[in-house]
Amino acid sequence: MTSSYDPKKITEIHEHLHSELPSDPALRVKALESLLVEKGMVDSAAIDAWIDLYAEEIGPKRGARVVAKSWTDPAFKARLLADGTAAISEFGYQGHATGHVVAVENTPVVHNLVVCTLCSCYPFALLGMSPGWYKSQEYRARAVRDPRGVLKEFGVSVGDEVEVRVWDSTAELRYLVLPQRPAGTDNLNEDQLAALVTRNSMIGTDRVLKVAR
């Protein structure tokens, strides 16, 4: 059960699989699961449990709570900016792909945007599943070349006075954008503030958070 670490061998295997596996991905995945269960490598009930956990418990609401706390508690914000992983652990949100969380803060003259140009790295335990567009060729290619054009497609316009900072997740660091607290929210509590924070604002494809009137 070693691995060859041999790209030539893997290329040949990929070609072989390409011609031998069923063409319908649903059938391919079903066959893979059956085989893994038969070989005692996977328990289907554990797959169900993972899907339920991410559907119900682990999602962008976690990140939103962290952002809201950073708006209301300056000491927490300082801890979050100093060590993102330690700060989210205060909420019990540590988990997948959050071993090295780095929070980056938007200001009136700074906007942050996160991408993974090489694959699809994302802080899963903090933001849940990544959206499809985050994994798309178009986003991965353009976020590091034309970030303002990308933002425009998300309905975000940033003025010339704003510096756009793009963060390409090339290592195991995972970036969390801290959006700005919207004006007119002084009377809101932390839960109400968290409800304003969108997933996209924590990736950087949203900037001005909306406040319900």
Binding site: M1, T2, S3, S4, Y5, P7, K9, I10, I13, H14, L17, H18, E20, L21, P22, P25, R28, V29, K30, A31, L32, S34, K39, G40, M41, D43, A46, I47, I51, Y54, S89, G92, G95, H100, V115, T117, L118, M129, S130, P131, G132, S136, Q137, E138, A141, R142, A143, V144, D146, E153, D160, E163, V164, R165, V166, W167, D168, T170, A171, L173
Partner: protein, 217 residues
């Protein structure tokens, strides 16, 4: 082997397609595949970077056209064949072959605990970092055909060290099954340098790069 996955800065890309329903899975099989990835521990030789490398080696047409989670299926299938755990025919049929000597798989009761495990990729360093914040560095150019986390659009460019992030496991070695750590830095590149003449002068592009990717500029 062209770097098909290395998409940063590729010209000629169209608009970003957004899902109207914004659901992470578009079919049951996508959720199943994601769940297999979570519930399967696999042999110790299946390192994270080996997994990434096997995905990068998917035929270019498949990489560019097959749905994201379908590529994951292909990665696991290829790693199983490579490790002698199954033949392509067994994977196609979904049955057959020997049962490997692996520990009992994760059960549903283990999932909450496993989901809260955070991996720390830092290792103790026996050397001091070569660079500090503010240093000017030049990135190297690596040939195609091996796994690296230095993206093509950042090869042979000049940047500034923004922060030292500790001594992190080096993916280039992890994809060969070797656990070697090196100092990691966040490096900032200016839009004017990366994309001259494209009106990006005000923008800053950051990436996390290992010491062996960099030399003093």
């Amino acid at each position: 082997m062209a770097r098909v996955h290395d998409m940063g800065g590729l010209p000629g890309q169209g608009r970003i397609v957004m899902d109207p329903d914004d659901h992470p899975f578009h079919a049951d099989w996508e959720a199943r595949m994601w769940g297999i990835n979570e519930a399967l521990e696999g042999p110790a030789s299946w390192s994270l970077d080996w997994w990434r490398y096997v995905r990068e080696l998917i035929q270019a047409d498949d990489y560019l056209t097959r749905p994201y989670f379908d590529q994951w299926m292909q990665v696991y299938a290829a790693m199983m064949v490579d490790s002698g755990l199954a033949t392509p025919a067994e994977i196609a049929r979904g049955t057959g072959g020997r049962k490997p000597d692996l520990r009992k798989p994760m059960g549903p009761g283990d999932v909450a605990k496993v989901s809260a495990i955070t991996r720390d990729f830092r290792r103790p360093a026996d050397q001091k970092p070569a660079f500090t914040s503010g240093n000017k560095v030049r990135t190297k150019t690596f040939p195609e055909g091996f796994h690296t986390r230095l993206p093509g659009y950042l090869m042979n460019r000049t940047g500034i060290i923004h922060a030292h992030r500790g001594n992190h496991l080096l993916p280039d070695e992890g994809a060969k099954g070797r656990h070697v750590a090196q100092h990691l830095y966040t490096v900032t590149f200016s839009g004017a340098d990366l994309w001259p003449g494209e009106g990006r002068d005000k923008d800053r592009f950051n990436a996390d790069l290992w010491e062996s990717y960099l030399e003093r500029a």
